[in-house]
Symmetry: none
Subunit: 126 residues, 2 copies
């Protein structure tokens, strides 16, 4: 339909094709996958996923599929357009300096004192 001809044999790029390829590679039917996920993903829904009618299934669904189809969870998450936590962040000092505080295991009192102080600093600055 909306679907032109996509090279099914080479490496698939969108989520639906990844799922479909993984499933057919394992020689499973859609209903078998439904079983394999413990009914967490219905065969009807799987069909919609593979045909691209659903573009962003919830991580829960993706996790079930990742285990049933032996595809890494992160891959599916990424392909669904979700931001994948940690797992290497290229540059962005991000944790660099922040770690100073993180590593330092603050006590609750210290945390509160620092937060108050920070609020004070910022209020001063406007």
């Amino acid at each position: 339909m909306t679907n032109g001809d996509i090279d099914q044999t080479s490496r698939p790029t969108n989520l639906g094709q990844i799922i479909k390829k993984a499933r057919t590679d394992m020689k499973l039917s859609q209903r078998e996958v439904e079983e394999a996920t413990g009914k967490e993903v219905s065969n009807a829904y799987l069909s919609q996923l593979e045909s691209g009618k659903i573009t962003k299934p919830s991580p829960h669904i993706l996790y079930a599929l990742s285990t049933a189809l032996a595809v890494p969870y992160e891959t599916l998450m990424e392909r669904a357009g979700y931001i994948v936590p940690s797992t290497e962040r290229p540059e962005s000092a991000k944790h660099g300096r922040a770690a100073t505080f993180a590593v330092d295991n603050l006590t609750a009192e210290e945390e509160n004192a620092l937060l108050d102080y920070l609020a004070y600093l910022r209020s001063k600055k406007g």
Copy 2:
């Protein structure tokens, strides 16, 4: 309303409370958070999140909030009930409380001021 009295000062356990505490700790209004996320999270939606009316916001939303509120993305994902890929078992320190400062939005001055203040606090206490 539906909300009994929940100890707001101690460490919150559900998503809404985590978000609310992070926001109030930073002394931001809901509309300021909306701005801070570049309008990716509306103040109306934020209100529903904090009050627990929404239990599973999309990872996209959680990511925006994590950066705006300086709370680790993984924490929010976990609290929203999503499975977090890889990333060691949370068993150990992780950052729990210190992460409140996760601090990619501390300026260098603020960081130094806070570190000095922390050193001062600890020297006082022995």
